[in-house]
Protein backbone atom coordinates (compact mmCIF):
# COMPACT_ATOMS: atom_id res chain seq x y z
CA UNK A 1 0.00 0.00 0.00
CA UNK A 2 2.21 2.75 -1.24
CA UNK A 3 -0.56 4.95 -2.52
CA UNK A 4 0.17 8.62 -2.28
CA UNK A 5 -2.40 10.59 -0.38
CA UNK A 6 -4.66 12.43 -2.74
CA UNK A 7 -5.99 15.84 -1.91
CA UNK A 8 -9.54 14.76 -1.27
CA UNK A 9 -10.74 16.82 1.55
CA UNK A 10 -10.45 20.30 0.14
CA UNK A 11 -13.50 22.14 1.19
CA UNK A 12 -13.58 24.79 -1.51
CA UNK A 13 -15.45 24.35 -4.74
CA UNK A 14 -12.47 23.65 -6.99
CA UNK A 15 -11.73 20.00 -7.59
CA UNK A 16 -8.41 18.78 -6.31
CA UNK A 17 -6.00 17.28 -8.81
CA UNK A 18 -7.40 14.00 -10.08
CA UNK A 19 -7.28 11.31 -7.41
CA UNK A 20 -4.97 8.42 -7.91
CA UNK A 21 -7.00 6.46 -10.40
CA UNK A 22 -7.21 3.34 -8.25
CA UNK A 23 -10.85 2.82 -9.11
CA UNK A 24 -10.85 2.66 -12.87
CA UNK A 25 -7.58 2.92 -14.73
CA UNK A 26 -7.83 5.29 -17.67
CA UNK A 27 -7.27 3.73 -21.04
CA UNK A 28 -4.61 5.08 -23.32
CA UNK A 29 -6.21 4.34 -26.68
CA UNK A 30 -9.48 5.41 -28.20
CA UNK A 31 -11.29 2.18 -27.42
CA UNK A 32 -14.73 1.95 -25.91
CA UNK A 33 -13.49 1.41 -22.37
CA UNK A 34 -12.14 4.91 -21.72
CA UNK A 35 -13.35 5.88 -18.25
CA UNK A 36 -13.62 9.00 -16.16
CA UNK A 37 -11.88 7.28 -13.28
CA UNK A 38 -12.28 8.13 -9.62
CA UNK A 39 -14.10 11.44 -9.10
CA UNK A 40 -12.63 14.34 -7.17
CA UNK A 41 -14.31 14.93 -3.85
CA UNK A 42 -15.07 17.77 -1.48
CA UNK A 43 -15.85 17.03 2.15
CA UNK A 44 -18.12 19.55 3.87
CA UNK A 45 -16.36 21.39 6.72
CA UNK A 46 -16.77 19.71 10.07
CA UNK A 47 -17.68 16.31 8.64
CA UNK A 48 -15.82 13.20 9.73
CA UNK A 49 -15.51 11.13 6.55
CA UNK A 50 -14.90 7.43 6.46
CA UNK A 51 -11.88 6.90 4.21
CA UNK A 52 -10.97 4.10 1.84
CA UNK A 53 -7.82 2.38 3.13
CA UNK A 54 -6.60 1.87 -0.45
CA UNK A 55 -7.21 5.15 -2.25
CA UNK A 56 -8.13 7.45 0.63
CA UNK A 57 -11.38 8.55 -1.01
CA UNK A 58 -13.75 9.96 1.64
CA UNK A 59 -17.32 8.68 2.14
CA UNK A 60 -20.14 9.95 4.31
CA UNK A 61 -20.67 6.51 5.89
CA UNK A 62 -18.82 3.27 6.57
CA UNK A 63 -21.41 1.42 4.58
CA UNK A 64 -20.76 3.54 1.49
CA UNK A 65 -17.02 3.00 1.90
CA UNK A 66 -17.48 -0.74 2.11
CA UNK A 67 -19.54 -0.69 -1.09
CA UNK A 68 -16.73 1.26 -2.73
CA UNK A 69 -14.22 -1.39 -1.61
CA UNK A 70 -16.25 -4.00 -3.46
CA UNK A 71 -16.64 -1.82 -6.58
CA UNK A 72 -13.09 -0.53 -6.87
CA UNK A 73 -10.66 -2.75 -5.00
CA UNK A 74 -12.24 -6.19 -5.28
CA UNK A 75 -8.91 -7.81 -6.14
CA UNK A 76 -7.00 -6.42 -3.16
CA UNK A 77 -9.38 -7.04 -0.27
CA UNK A 78 -8.48 -8.86 2.94
CA UNK A 79 -10.83 -11.69 3.97
CA UNK A 80 -12.35 -9.51 6.64
CA UNK A 81 -13.05 -6.71 4.14
CA UNK A 82 -14.46 -9.17 1.61
CA UNK A 83 -16.89 -10.44 4.22
CA UNK A 84 -17.94 -6.91 5.08
CA UNK A 85 -18.49 -6.16 1.39
CA UNK A 86 -20.67 -9.26 1.00
CA UNK A 87 -22.75 -8.31 4.03
CA UNK A 88 -23.25 -4.69 2.92
CA UNK A 89 -24.10 -5.77 -0.61
CA UNK A 90 -26.69 -8.11 0.80
CA UNK A 91 -28.26 -5.24 2.75
CA UNK A 92 -28.20 -3.05 -0.35
CA UNK A 93 -29.85 -5.76 -2.42
CA UNK A 94 -32.72 -5.82 0.10
CA UNK A 95 -33.04 -2.04 -0.05
CA UNK A 96 -32.88 -2.14 -3.81
CA UNK A 97 -35.67 -4.71 -3.94
CA UNK A 98 -37.97 -2.47 -1.93
CA UNK A 99 -36.90 0.50 -4.06
CA UNK A 100 -37.68 -1.40 -7.25
CA UNK A 101 -41.14 -2.26 -5.94
CA UNK A 102 -41.69 1.48 -5.53
CA UNK A 103 -40.35 2.10 -9.02
CA UNK A 104 -42.73 -0.44 -10.54
CA UNK A 105 -45.61 1.11 -8.58
CA UNK A 106 -44.61 4.55 -9.89
CA UNK A 107 -44.52 3.28 -13.49
CA UNK A 108 -47.97 1.75 -13.14
CA UNK A 109 -49.41 4.88 -11.51
CA UNK A 110 -47.89 7.18 -14.12
CA UNK A 111 -49.14 5.16 -17.08
CA UNK A 112 -52.58 4.62 -15.57
CA UNK A 113 -52.83 8.31 -14.74
CA UNK A 114 -51.96 9.34 -18.26
CA UNK A 115 -54.35 6.79 -19.73
CA UNK A 116 -57.16 8.19 -17.57
CA UNK A 117 -56.37 11.75 -18.59
CA UNK A 118 -56.49 10.68 -22.24
CA UNK A 119 -59.74 8.84 -21.69
CA UNK A 120 -61.33 11.98 -20.24
CA UNK A 121 -59.90 14.40 -22.78
CA UNK A 122 -60.75 12.32 -25.84
CA UNK A 123 -64.21 11.18 -24.76
Amino acid sequence: MIHARAIHDRTDDRPAARPDGGETPPDAGGRGDRRWGAPSTAVPPGADPSRCPYCDRPFPSDRRRTLHLGDAHAAELTDEQAEAVAAVRDEEADDLFVYHLKVVAAIVLLLMGLAYVYAFVLS
Binding site: P15, A16, R18, G29, R31, R34, L67, L96, L110
Partner: protein, 499 residues
Amino acid sequence: MTRSRSARRWVVTAVVAAAVLALLTRPGAAHGGTLRLSGSSPQVPFWLVSLTGGGVIGVSFLFAALVTDHDLIRDVAATGRRLGAIPASLTGLARAAGVAGFVVVVAVGLVGPSTPTANLAVLAIWVGWWAGFTALTYLAGNAWPAINPWRTLAALLPAGDRRVSPRAATAISVGGLLALVYLEVLSPLSEDPVLLVAAVLAYSLATLAGAVVVGDGWFERVDPISRVFRLYGRIAPIQRTGDGLRLSLPGAELTRPPATDPRPGERAGSAADPQPAGGSSRADGGTAAARSQDRGAWWARREGDATFVVALLWVTTFDGLVSTAAWETFARAAVGVGVPAHALYVAVLLVGFGVFLVGYRLACRLSRRTGNSYVSVPEIRVRFAPSLLPIAAGYHLAHYLDYLLSLLPSLAVVATDPLSPPASLPVLTLPGWFGGVGLLAIVAGHVLAVGVAHAVAFETFTGRLQPIRSQYPFIVVMVLYTMISLWLVSQPTVEPPFV
Protein backbone atom coordinates in the same frame (compact mmCIF):
# COMPACT_ATOMS: atom_id res chain seq x y z
CA MET B 1 -17.41 -16.21 -17.51
CA THR B 2 -18.36 -16.01 -21.18
CA ARG B 3 -21.56 -17.74 -20.30
CA SER B 4 -22.58 -15.17 -17.72
CA ARG B 5 -21.53 -12.44 -20.16
CA SER B 6 -23.81 -13.73 -22.91
CA ALA B 7 -26.58 -14.21 -20.37
CA ARG B 8 -26.08 -10.59 -19.41
CA ARG B 9 -26.30 -9.54 -23.04
CA TRP B 10 -29.65 -11.29 -23.25
CA VAL B 11 -30.89 -9.48 -20.20
CA VAL B 12 -29.81 -6.17 -21.77
CA THR B 13 -31.58 -6.99 -25.00
CA ALA B 14 -34.73 -8.00 -23.16
CA VAL B 15 -34.77 -4.88 -20.99
CA VAL B 16 -34.10 -2.59 -23.95
CA ALA B 17 -36.77 -4.32 -26.03
CA ALA B 18 -39.27 -4.05 -23.19
CA ALA B 19 -38.52 -0.36 -22.72
CA VAL B 20 -38.83 0.35 -26.44
CA LEU B 21 -42.08 -1.58 -26.66
CA ALA B 22 -43.47 0.23 -23.66
CA LEU B 23 -42.56 3.57 -25.19
CA LEU B 24 -43.95 2.71 -28.60
CA THR B 25 -47.25 1.50 -27.28
CA ARG B 26 -47.70 4.50 -25.05
CA PRO B 27 -50.77 6.50 -25.91
CA GLY B 28 -48.73 9.69 -26.07
CA ALA B 29 -46.45 8.46 -28.80
CA ALA B 30 -49.39 7.55 -30.99
CA HIS B 31 -51.26 10.75 -30.35
CA GLY B 32 -48.22 12.93 -30.78
CA GLY B 33 -48.16 11.64 -34.34
CA THR B 34 -51.75 12.65 -34.99
CA LEU B 35 -51.37 16.09 -33.48
CA ARG B 36 -51.74 18.03 -36.68
CA LEU B 37 -54.10 15.69 -38.48
CA SER B 38 -57.15 17.62 -39.47
CA GLY B 39 -60.52 15.98 -39.98
CA SER B 40 -62.53 13.68 -37.82
CA SER B 41 -59.87 12.49 -35.38
CA PRO B 42 -60.10 14.40 -32.11
CA GLN B 43 -57.39 16.96 -31.44
CA VAL B 44 -55.09 16.42 -28.51
CA PRO B 45 -54.64 19.68 -26.62
CA PHE B 46 -51.11 21.08 -26.38
CA TRP B 47 -50.96 20.77 -22.61
CA LEU B 48 -51.65 17.06 -22.90
CA VAL B 49 -48.89 16.61 -25.49
CA SER B 50 -46.52 18.37 -23.07
CA LEU B 51 -47.72 16.27 -20.16
CA THR B 52 -47.26 13.08 -22.14
CA GLY B 53 -43.73 14.09 -23.13
CA GLY B 54 -42.89 14.74 -19.49
CA GLY B 55 -44.45 11.38 -18.62
CA VAL B 56 -42.32 9.56 -21.19
CA ILE B 57 -39.16 11.04 -19.65
CA GLY B 58 -40.32 10.05 -16.17
CA VAL B 59 -41.11 6.52 -17.31
CA SER B 60 -37.79 6.12 -19.09
CA PHE B 61 -35.99 7.18 -15.92
CA LEU B 62 -38.00 4.65 -13.94
CA PHE B 63 -37.18 1.92 -16.45
CA ALA B 64 -33.50 2.89 -16.28
CA ALA B 65 -33.70 2.66 -12.48
CA LEU B 66 -34.43 -1.06 -12.88
CA VAL B 67 -31.02 -1.56 -14.52
CA THR B 68 -28.52 -1.44 -11.67
CA ASP B 69 -25.70 -3.78 -12.65
CA HIS B 70 -22.43 -1.86 -13.04
CA ASP B 71 -20.91 -4.37 -15.45
CA LEU B 72 -24.02 -4.51 -17.57
CA ILE B 73 -24.18 -0.73 -17.92
CA ARG B 74 -20.49 -0.63 -18.84
CA ASP B 75 -20.98 -3.41 -21.38
CA VAL B 76 -23.81 -1.55 -23.09
CA ALA B 77 -21.78 1.67 -23.25
CA ALA B 78 -18.72 -0.19 -24.59
CA THR B 79 -20.57 -2.15 -27.30
CA GLY B 80 -19.21 -1.43 -30.76
CA ARG B 81 -16.77 -2.39 -33.46
CA ARG B 82 -13.87 -0.93 -35.35
CA LEU B 83 -14.61 0.30 -38.85
CA GLY B 84 -11.07 0.83 -40.14
CA ALA B 85 -9.01 3.89 -40.86
CA ILE B 86 -10.11 6.90 -42.92
CA PRO B 87 -8.34 6.91 -46.31
CA ALA B 88 -6.10 9.95 -46.69
CA SER B 89 -7.55 10.59 -50.15
CA LEU B 90 -11.02 11.01 -48.63
CA THR B 91 -9.71 13.60 -46.18
CA GLY B 92 -8.05 15.48 -49.04
CA LEU B 93 -11.26 15.34 -51.04
CA ALA B 94 -13.28 16.69 -48.08
CA ARG B 95 -10.81 19.56 -47.66
CA ALA B 96 -10.99 20.45 -51.36
CA ALA B 97 -14.79 20.25 -51.33
CA GLY B 98 -14.95 22.48 -48.26
CA VAL B 99 -12.80 25.20 -49.80
CA ALA B 100 -14.58 24.94 -53.19
CA GLY B 101 -17.96 25.21 -51.45
CA PHE B 102 -16.78 28.26 -49.54
CA VAL B 103 -15.57 30.02 -52.72
CA VAL B 104 -18.78 29.18 -54.62
CA VAL B 105 -21.00 30.39 -51.77
CA VAL B 106 -19.17 33.71 -51.52
CA ALA B 107 -19.13 34.24 -55.30
CA VAL B 108 -22.77 33.28 -55.91
CA GLY B 109 -23.89 35.29 -52.90
CA LEU B 110 -22.36 38.40 -54.48
CA VAL B 111 -23.26 37.95 -58.16
CA GLY B 112 -26.21 35.51 -58.00
CA PRO B 113 -29.94 36.35 -57.97
CA SER B 114 -31.06 38.61 -55.15
CA THR B 115 -34.15 36.54 -54.33
CA PRO B 116 -33.06 34.65 -51.20
CA THR B 117 -34.94 31.43 -52.03
CA ALA B 118 -33.21 31.27 -55.41
CA ASN B 119 -29.73 32.16 -54.21
CA LEU B 120 -27.35 29.26 -53.70
CA ALA B 121 -25.47 31.04 -50.90
CA VAL B 122 -28.58 31.41 -48.77
CA LEU B 123 -29.85 27.89 -49.47
CA ALA B 124 -26.45 26.24 -49.03
CA ILE B 125 -25.73 27.96 -45.72
CA TRP B 126 -29.11 27.74 -44.03
CA VAL B 127 -30.57 24.57 -45.54
CA GLY B 128 -27.54 22.56 -46.57
CA TRP B 129 -25.17 23.48 -43.79
CA TRP B 130 -26.89 24.81 -40.67
CA ALA B 131 -29.87 22.42 -40.91
CA GLY B 132 -28.56 19.49 -42.97
CA PHE B 133 -24.88 19.18 -42.11
CA THR B 134 -25.56 19.74 -38.42
CA ALA B 135 -28.18 16.97 -38.42
CA LEU B 136 -25.72 14.70 -40.23
CA THR B 137 -23.12 15.47 -37.58
CA TYR B 138 -25.19 14.25 -34.64
CA LEU B 139 -26.91 11.44 -36.53
CA ALA B 140 -23.82 9.96 -38.26
CA GLY B 141 -20.49 11.54 -37.31
CA ASN B 142 -18.47 14.72 -37.28
CA ALA B 143 -16.71 15.43 -40.59
CA TRP B 144 -16.28 19.14 -39.89
CA PRO B 145 -12.57 19.04 -38.93
CA ALA B 146 -11.85 17.76 -42.46
CA ILE B 147 -14.37 19.90 -44.35
CA ASN B 148 -13.85 23.14 -42.39
CA PRO B 149 -12.60 25.46 -45.18
CA TRP B 150 -11.11 27.96 -42.72
CA ARG B 151 -8.97 25.26 -41.17
CA THR B 152 -7.70 24.20 -44.60
CA LEU B 153 -6.98 27.81 -45.53
CA ALA B 154 -5.37 28.53 -42.17
CA ALA B 155 -2.93 25.67 -42.79
CA LEU B 156 -1.52 27.72 -45.68
CA LEU B 157 -0.87 30.70 -43.42
CA PRO B 158 1.88 31.03 -40.83
CA ALA B 159 0.64 29.51 -37.57
CA GLY B 160 1.35 31.16 -34.24
CA ASP B 161 1.46 29.28 -30.96
CA ARG B 162 0.10 31.80 -28.53
CA ARG B 163 -1.64 30.16 -25.59
CA VAL B 164 -5.23 31.07 -24.91
CA SER B 165 -6.33 30.40 -21.36
CA PRO B 166 -9.24 27.92 -21.20
CA ARG B 167 -11.38 30.57 -19.54
CA ALA B 168 -10.79 33.03 -22.40
CA ALA B 169 -11.38 30.27 -24.96
CA THR B 170 -14.73 29.46 -23.35
CA ALA B 171 -15.70 33.13 -23.18
CA ILE B 172 -14.88 33.62 -26.87
CA SER B 173 -16.68 30.50 -28.05
CA VAL B 174 -19.78 31.02 -25.89
CA GLY B 175 -19.89 34.71 -26.83
CA GLY B 176 -19.39 33.79 -30.49
CA LEU B 177 -22.20 31.25 -30.37
CA LEU B 178 -24.61 33.74 -28.81
CA ALA B 179 -23.58 36.37 -31.36
CA LEU B 180 -24.07 33.98 -34.28
CA VAL B 181 -27.54 33.03 -33.11
CA TYR B 182 -28.39 36.67 -32.51
CA LEU B 183 -27.39 37.43 -36.11
CA GLU B 184 -29.28 34.40 -37.39
CA VAL B 185 -32.51 35.35 -35.66
CA LEU B 186 -32.36 39.09 -35.81
CA SER B 187 -30.72 40.40 -38.90
CA PRO B 188 -32.05 39.83 -42.40
CA LEU B 189 -29.21 37.38 -43.03
CA SER B 190 -31.55 34.80 -44.48
CA GLU B 191 -33.14 37.35 -46.81
CA ASP B 192 -30.21 39.29 -48.18
CA PRO B 193 -27.50 37.21 -49.92
CA VAL B 194 -24.99 40.09 -50.02
CA LEU B 195 -25.37 40.75 -46.30
CA LEU B 196 -24.98 37.04 -45.65
CA VAL B 197 -21.73 36.95 -47.63
CA ALA B 198 -20.52 40.00 -45.72
CA ALA B 199 -21.17 38.15 -42.46
CA VAL B 200 -19.37 35.04 -43.78
CA LEU B 201 -16.38 37.15 -44.81
CA ALA B 202 -16.29 38.91 -41.45
CA TYR B 203 -16.34 35.55 -39.70
CA SER B 204 -13.59 34.30 -42.07
CA LEU B 205 -11.41 37.27 -41.25
CA ALA B 206 -11.84 36.79 -37.51
CA THR B 207 -11.27 33.04 -37.73
CA LEU B 208 -8.18 33.24 -39.91
CA ALA B 209 -6.74 35.96 -37.69
CA GLY B 210 -7.38 33.75 -34.67
CA ALA B 211 -5.76 30.77 -36.38
CA VAL B 212 -2.70 32.83 -37.33
CA VAL B 213 -2.22 33.93 -33.73
CA VAL B 214 -3.15 30.71 -31.92
CA GLY B 215 -2.49 27.99 -34.52
CA ASP B 216 -4.61 24.88 -34.99
CA GLY B 217 -5.63 25.08 -31.34
CA TRP B 218 -7.98 27.86 -32.42
CA PHE B 219 -10.22 25.31 -34.12
CA GLU B 220 -9.85 22.73 -31.37
CA ARG B 221 -10.59 25.02 -28.45
CA VAL B 222 -11.82 28.48 -29.38
CA ASP B 223 -13.78 28.61 -32.66
CA PRO B 224 -17.50 28.41 -31.75
CA ILE B 225 -18.58 26.64 -34.94
CA SER B 226 -15.95 23.91 -34.61
CA ARG B 227 -16.94 23.48 -30.99
CA VAL B 228 -20.62 23.07 -31.92
CA PHE B 229 -19.76 20.32 -34.38
CA ARG B 230 -17.25 18.64 -32.08
CA LEU B 231 -19.83 18.41 -29.31
CA TYR B 232 -22.75 17.43 -31.55
CA GLY B 233 -20.48 14.86 -33.19
CA ARG B 234 -19.99 13.11 -29.85
CA ILE B 235 -23.63 11.96 -29.93
CA ALA B 236 -23.12 10.17 -33.24
CA PRO B 237 -22.66 6.42 -33.59
CA ILE B 238 -19.50 6.85 -35.68
CA GLN B 239 -16.54 8.17 -33.72
CA ARG B 240 -12.98 8.94 -34.68
CA THR B 241 -10.49 7.26 -32.37
CA GLY B 242 -6.75 6.83 -32.22
CA ASP B 243 -6.87 3.88 -34.62
CA GLY B 244 -9.53 4.77 -37.17
CA LEU B 245 -13.30 4.96 -37.01
CA ARG B 246 -15.40 3.13 -34.46
CA LEU B 247 -19.10 2.31 -34.55
CA SER B 248 -20.94 2.27 -31.22
CA LEU B 249 -24.38 2.97 -29.80
CA PRO B 250 -25.57 6.58 -30.25
CA GLY B 251 -24.70 8.55 -27.15
CA ALA B 252 -22.27 5.94 -25.79
CA GLU B 253 -19.36 8.31 -26.37
CA LEU B 254 -21.04 10.87 -24.09
CA THR B 255 -20.51 8.63 -21.08
CA ARG B 256 -16.71 8.84 -21.45
CA PRO B 257 -14.10 11.60 -21.30
CA PRO B 258 -13.41 12.90 -24.83
CA ALA B 259 -11.14 10.84 -27.06
CA THR B 260 -9.95 13.88 -28.99
CA ASP B 261 -8.50 15.56 -25.91
CA PRO B 262 -6.98 12.83 -23.74
CA ARG B 263 -6.32 13.56 -20.13
CA PRO B 264 -2.67 14.52 -19.54
CA GLY B 265 -0.79 11.46 -18.36
CA GLU B 266 -3.00 9.01 -20.25
CA ARG B 267 -0.69 8.95 -23.23
CA ALA B 268 2.10 7.71 -21.01
CA GLY B 269 0.07 4.52 -20.74
CA SER B 270 0.47 4.14 -17.00
CA ALA B 271 -2.60 2.70 -15.38
CA ALA B 272 -2.45 4.73 -12.21
CA ASP B 273 -2.72 8.45 -12.52
CA PRO B 274 0.50 9.68 -10.89
CA GLN B 275 -0.33 11.95 -8.04
CA PRO B 276 2.14 14.72 -7.43
CA ALA B 277 0.32 16.01 -4.36
CA GLY B 278 1.90 13.70 -1.83
CA GLY B 279 5.28 15.39 -2.05
CA SER B 280 6.76 12.45 -3.90
CA SER B 281 10.32 13.12 -4.94
CA ARG B 282 10.42 11.05 -8.11
CA ALA B 283 9.82 13.98 -10.45
CA ASP B 284 11.66 17.23 -10.29
CA GLY B 285 9.62 20.24 -9.29
CA GLY B 286 9.47 21.72 -12.80
CA THR B 287 7.93 18.65 -14.45
CA ALA B 288 5.47 18.09 -11.64
CA ALA B 289 4.35 21.71 -11.81
CA ALA B 290 3.99 21.52 -15.61
CA ARG B 291 2.02 18.30 -15.31
CA SER B 292 -0.28 19.74 -12.69
CA GLN B 293 -0.74 22.81 -14.90
CA ASP B 294 -1.60 20.58 -17.88
CA ARG B 295 -4.10 18.75 -15.79
CA GLY B 296 -5.63 21.99 -14.55
CA ALA B 297 -5.94 23.21 -18.15
CA TRP B 298 -7.54 19.91 -19.21
CA TRP B 299 -10.02 20.24 -16.40
CA ALA B 300 -10.75 23.88 -17.29
CA ARG B 301 -11.46 22.81 -20.89
CA ARG B 302 -13.98 20.27 -19.62
CA GLU B 303 -15.65 22.98 -17.52
CA GLY B 304 -15.67 25.14 -20.65
CA ASP B 305 -17.34 22.34 -22.58
CA ALA B 306 -20.00 22.08 -19.88
CA THR B 307 -20.77 25.80 -20.12
CA PHE B 308 -20.81 25.63 -23.91
CA VAL B 309 -23.23 22.69 -23.89
CA VAL B 310 -25.64 24.70 -21.77
CA ALA B 311 -25.28 27.65 -24.16
CA LEU B 312 -25.97 25.36 -27.11
CA LEU B 313 -29.10 24.03 -25.45
CA TRP B 314 -30.26 27.56 -24.74
CA VAL B 315 -29.69 28.94 -28.26
CA THR B 316 -31.68 26.12 -29.88
CA THR B 317 -34.50 26.91 -27.46
CA PHE B 318 -34.20 30.65 -28.08
CA ASP B 319 -34.50 30.06 -31.80
CA GLY B 320 -37.85 28.34 -31.25
CA LEU B 321 -39.01 30.74 -28.55
CA VAL B 322 -38.84 33.90 -30.65
CA SER B 323 -41.00 32.42 -33.39
CA THR B 324 -43.99 31.65 -31.18
CA ALA B 325 -47.15 33.71 -31.06
CA ALA B 326 -46.75 34.12 -27.30
CA TRP B 327 -43.37 35.78 -27.83
CA GLU B 328 -44.87 38.05 -30.46
CA THR B 329 -47.52 39.23 -28.02
CA PHE B 330 -44.91 39.74 -25.30
CA ALA B 331 -42.46 41.55 -27.60
CA ARG B 332 -45.15 43.86 -28.96
CA ALA B 333 -46.25 44.73 -25.44
CA ALA B 334 -42.65 45.38 -24.35
CA VAL B 335 -41.87 47.50 -27.39
CA GLY B 336 -45.19 49.28 -26.87
CA VAL B 337 -43.99 50.58 -23.51
CA GLY B 338 -40.78 51.87 -25.06
CA VAL B 339 -38.21 49.03 -24.85
CA PRO B 340 -35.97 49.10 -27.94
CA ALA B 341 -36.62 45.88 -29.91
CA HIS B 342 -33.00 44.85 -30.33
CA ALA B 343 -32.19 45.51 -26.69
CA LEU B 344 -35.12 43.27 -25.79
CA TYR B 345 -33.76 40.40 -27.89
CA VAL B 346 -30.23 40.80 -26.55
CA ALA B 347 -31.51 40.95 -22.99
CA VAL B 348 -33.62 37.82 -23.39
CA LEU B 349 -30.74 35.99 -25.10
CA LEU B 350 -28.38 36.77 -22.23
CA VAL B 351 -30.86 36.36 -19.38
CA GLY B 352 -32.08 33.04 -20.79
CA PHE B 353 -28.52 31.75 -20.97
CA GLY B 354 -28.00 32.83 -17.38
CA VAL B 355 -31.18 31.08 -16.28
CA PHE B 356 -30.16 27.85 -18.03
CA LEU B 357 -26.67 27.97 -16.55
CA VAL B 358 -27.95 28.62 -13.04
CA GLY B 359 -30.56 25.88 -13.45
CA TYR B 360 -27.95 23.35 -14.51
CA ARG B 361 -25.52 24.31 -11.75
CA LEU B 362 -28.29 24.13 -9.19
CA ALA B 363 -29.25 20.64 -10.41
CA CYS B 364 -25.61 19.55 -10.00
CA ARG B 365 -25.48 20.95 -6.48
CA LEU B 366 -28.73 19.21 -5.58
CA SER B 367 -27.52 15.98 -7.17
CA ARG B 368 -24.68 15.88 -4.64
CA ARG B 369 -27.26 16.33 -1.91
CA THR B 370 -29.91 13.79 -3.06
CA GLY B 371 -27.12 11.28 -3.67
CA ASN B 372 -25.68 12.17 -0.23
CA SER B 373 -22.23 12.12 -1.78
CA TYR B 374 -18.82 13.72 -1.32
CA VAL B 375 -18.18 13.88 -5.07
CA SER B 376 -17.33 17.51 -5.83
CA VAL B 377 -19.88 19.72 -7.59
CA PRO B 378 -17.53 20.69 -10.49
CA GLU B 379 -16.92 16.99 -11.09
CA ILE B 380 -20.68 16.41 -11.38
CA ARG B 381 -21.03 19.45 -13.65
CA VAL B 382 -18.36 18.24 -16.04
CA ARG B 383 -19.44 14.61 -16.17
CA PHE B 384 -23.16 15.19 -16.63
CA ALA B 385 -23.05 18.09 -19.12
CA PRO B 386 -22.60 15.84 -22.21
CA SER B 387 -25.90 14.12 -21.37
CA LEU B 388 -27.62 17.41 -22.31
CA LEU B 389 -26.33 17.19 -25.88
CA PRO B 390 -28.93 14.70 -27.19
CA ILE B 391 -31.59 17.07 -25.88
CA ALA B 392 -30.16 19.96 -27.90
CA ALA B 393 -29.84 17.71 -30.94
CA GLY B 394 -33.41 16.43 -30.62
CA TYR B 395 -34.61 19.99 -30.39
CA HIS B 396 -32.51 21.03 -33.40
CA LEU B 397 -33.97 18.16 -35.44
CA ALA B 398 -37.52 19.05 -34.39
CA HIS B 399 -36.94 22.66 -35.32
CA TYR B 400 -35.23 22.14 -38.69
CA LEU B 401 -36.31 18.80 -40.16
CA ASP B 402 -39.38 20.01 -42.05
CA TYR B 403 -37.51 23.14 -43.16
CA LEU B 404 -34.63 20.99 -44.43
CA LEU B 405 -36.78 18.45 -46.26
CA SER B 406 -39.07 20.99 -47.88
CA LEU B 407 -36.23 23.17 -49.22
CA LEU B 408 -33.81 20.40 -50.18
CA PRO B 409 -35.28 20.08 -53.73
CA SER B 410 -34.82 23.85 -54.23
CA LEU B 411 -31.21 23.55 -53.11
CA ALA B 412 -30.57 20.71 -55.55
CA VAL B 413 -32.08 22.59 -58.50
CA VAL B 414 -30.32 25.87 -57.68
CA ALA B 415 -27.00 24.04 -57.28
CA THR B 416 -27.16 22.83 -60.88
CA ASP B 417 -27.49 26.38 -62.22
CA PRO B 418 -26.63 28.90 -59.50
CA LEU B 419 -26.38 32.02 -61.66
CA SER B 420 -29.70 31.74 -63.48
CA PRO B 421 -31.94 29.34 -61.58
CA PRO B 422 -35.43 28.61 -62.95
CA ALA B 423 -38.16 31.00 -61.85
CA SER B 424 -40.25 28.37 -60.08
CA LEU B 425 -38.34 26.13 -57.70
CA PRO B 426 -39.61 22.80 -56.42
CA VAL B 427 -40.54 22.67 -52.74
CA LEU B 428 -41.46 19.45 -50.99
CA THR B 429 -44.88 19.72 -49.35
CA LEU B 430 -44.85 17.64 -46.20
CA PRO B 431 -47.95 15.78 -45.04
CA GLY B 432 -49.77 16.97 -41.93
CA TRP B 433 -48.64 14.09 -39.73
CA PHE B 434 -45.06 15.23 -40.17
CA GLY B 435 -45.42 17.63 -37.25
CA GLY B 436 -45.40 14.58 -34.98
CA VAL B 437 -41.88 13.63 -36.11
CA GLY B 438 -40.54 16.75 -34.42
CA LEU B 439 -42.26 15.84 -31.16
CA LEU B 440 -40.81 12.34 -31.35
CA ALA B 441 -37.32 13.78 -31.99
CA ILE B 442 -37.55 15.83 -28.79
CA VAL B 443 -38.74 12.89 -26.74
CA ALA B 444 -36.10 10.58 -28.26
CA GLY B 445 -33.36 13.10 -27.44
CA HIS B 446 -34.50 13.22 -23.82
CA VAL B 447 -34.75 9.43 -23.53
CA LEU B 448 -31.18 9.14 -24.81
CA ALA B 449 -30.15 11.82 -22.32
CA VAL B 450 -31.72 9.83 -19.48
CA GLY B 451 -29.75 6.75 -20.55
CA VAL B 452 -26.47 8.66 -20.77
CA ALA B 453 -27.00 10.30 -17.37
CA HIS B 454 -27.76 6.86 -15.91
CA ALA B 455 -24.49 5.40 -17.21
CA VAL B 456 -22.52 8.43 -15.99
CA ALA B 457 -24.14 8.23 -12.55
CA PHE B 458 -23.15 4.58 -12.17
CA GLU B 459 -19.60 5.44 -13.16
CA THR B 460 -19.44 8.34 -10.70
CA PHE B 461 -21.28 7.24 -7.55
CA THR B 462 -20.87 4.23 -5.31
CA GLY B 463 -23.13 1.21 -4.97
CA ARG B 464 -26.40 0.77 -6.83
CA LEU B 465 -28.94 2.92 -5.01
CA GLN B 466 -26.94 6.12 -4.68
CA PRO B 467 -26.41 6.58 -8.45
CA ILE B 468 -30.17 6.44 -9.00
CA ARG B 469 -30.93 8.90 -6.20
CA SER B 470 -28.30 11.31 -7.51
CA GLN B 471 -30.26 11.64 -10.75
CA TYR B 472 -33.47 13.04 -9.22
CA PRO B 473 -32.64 16.73 -9.81
CA PHE B 474 -31.61 16.08 -13.41
CA ILE B 475 -34.81 14.15 -14.09
CA VAL B 476 -36.95 16.96 -12.68
CA VAL B 477 -35.10 19.49 -14.85
CA MET B 478 -35.40 17.26 -17.92
CA VAL B 479 -39.12 16.67 -17.43
CA LEU B 480 -39.71 20.42 -17.11
CA TYR B 481 -37.55 21.16 -20.12
CA THR B 482 -39.26 18.53 -22.27
CA MET B 483 -42.64 19.99 -21.45
CA ILE B 484 -41.47 23.49 -22.34
CA SER B 485 -39.82 22.46 -25.59
CA LEU B 486 -42.76 20.33 -26.71
CA TRP B 487 -44.98 23.32 -26.10
CA LEU B 488 -42.62 25.51 -28.15
CA VAL B 489 -42.48 23.07 -31.07
CA SER B 490 -46.21 22.49 -31.18
CA GLN B 491 -46.87 26.23 -31.45
CA PRO B 492 -47.55 27.56 -34.93
CA THR B 493 -44.41 29.30 -36.25
CA VAL B 494 -44.61 33.05 -36.78
CA GLU B 495 -41.92 35.43 -37.96
CA PRO B 496 -40.12 37.02 -35.01
CA PRO B 497 -41.46 40.58 -34.73
CA PHE B 498 -39.33 43.75 -35.16
CA VAL B 499 -36.41 42.14 -36.98
